[in-house]
Point group: C2
Chain length 219, copies 2
């Protein structure tokens, strides 16, 4: 494959929209999820995020980046008001509706109603889940970190609830999100299903990784 | 699909290794890349990361999380010494070798030599690229943020160089990383190729997203 090179001066000279599309493509495949929140009055909000990342297992922490635009501010404000959020994996059935949640709806419009996705609730969790999602998490706000370089905000949240298909949970704790239908995204607008190459055994010097035997891990 | 639920008390009660595997699976599909660095003496290091995330396009910023283990400390120390790193997408041909870089090699062992991956250099970039990678970035250290909750470190870096297959670059700036063969990962050890569902048009209230016409975007 012949490669095209971009030096820093080339990157800086790119048209703003072209650069946003280009730079967003460079970080590899991304987690794509819907974050559900509500304000103190119970008005719900649902927003698509592609920046969720694992921060730690003990305590169970995730991070995500909130951009300083109007739609995402609703998510931020609701989390600061209630401390609660849900994180809902997106599957092939509703990825178009998930994408549509990023439209700039007025504050009084719930993205659930606007896109036809279904609110679901669990006692003790002060935020709406997406009923259509197969892998659903609830989390509680831990801390926000302002990223001065570009005005974005990094959010840290602790996972306090998980609901996932029983058949996707293997005996070692691995959750097979491919089997659950979870999609991934790249760039600003590209959505993908996945096909597993392998799970590989824990890497040690002087050995070669082997495929983990899925049959033996199933319950 | 029948779902299994985990309350916070269930999560806290999980065996430590089971929990690490489980919680690592929950964040969705992840970017999987190799970060290349070297120390002041030019001794190279290569480490697998699955926490890279897009932070902004202007300036072009990415973030990633460094865990406080020995192997990743080499990457951290080298970046703090030289300010330089490369970020190399992983494809199907060498994902097993990429996984193997996470073995705990001694500091004097370069993961390039240990895994058989090939160092490549570009004038002005003080870090090694992976020759086998199709999408290669170079970045310069911006800032680190200590995550007190679990002792991890968030790194912010600015992209200063991109090399990508010309045929994967569309006229609107979108880089087709699926066509470039970039793989994604889930959990601690599962690797996946992707199959595009669609690119969707920019979401606006009262319209339905359409598929972006790839033919029209190709150059």
């Amino acid at each position: 494959m012949a490669n095209k090179e971009f030096l820093e001066t080339d990157i800086l000279a790119l048209d703003q929209r072209y650069r946003a599309t280009f730079i967003n493509s460079l970080g590899g495949f991304k987690s794509f999820c819907l974050i559900g929140t509500q304000n103190k009055e119970g008005h719900t909000n649902l927003a698509a995020f592609s920046s969720l990342f694992h921060l730690g297992a003990n305590p169970a922490l995730v991070g995500f980046i909130v951009r300083p635009d109007v739609a995402k501010r609703h998510t931020l404000n609701n989390i600061l008001e209630t401390g609660a959020l849900t994180i809902n994996h997106v599957n092939e059935v509703f990825y178009t509706q998930a994408h549509q949640t990023s439209a700039r709806y007025a504050a009084e419009v719930s993205e659930f109603a606007a896109t036809g996705l279904t609110e679901a609730y669990i006692e003790g969790i002060n935020a709406p889940f997406v009923a259509e999602s197969h892998v659903k998490l609830a989390a509680t706000f831990v801390r926000k970190i302002d990223i001065a370089e570009n005005g974005t905000i990094m959010m840290i949240a602790r996972i306090i609830y998980v609901s996932a298909p029983e058949k996707c949970l293997l005996s070692d704790g691995f959750l097979d999100i491919e089997l659950a239908g979870t999609v991934t995204c790249s760039g600003l607008d590209s959505y993908h299903t996945t096909r597993r190459l392998a799970r590989l055994t824990y890497a040690k010097p002087d050995t070669v990784p082997q495929q983990v035997d899925r049959q033996r891990l199933s319950k």
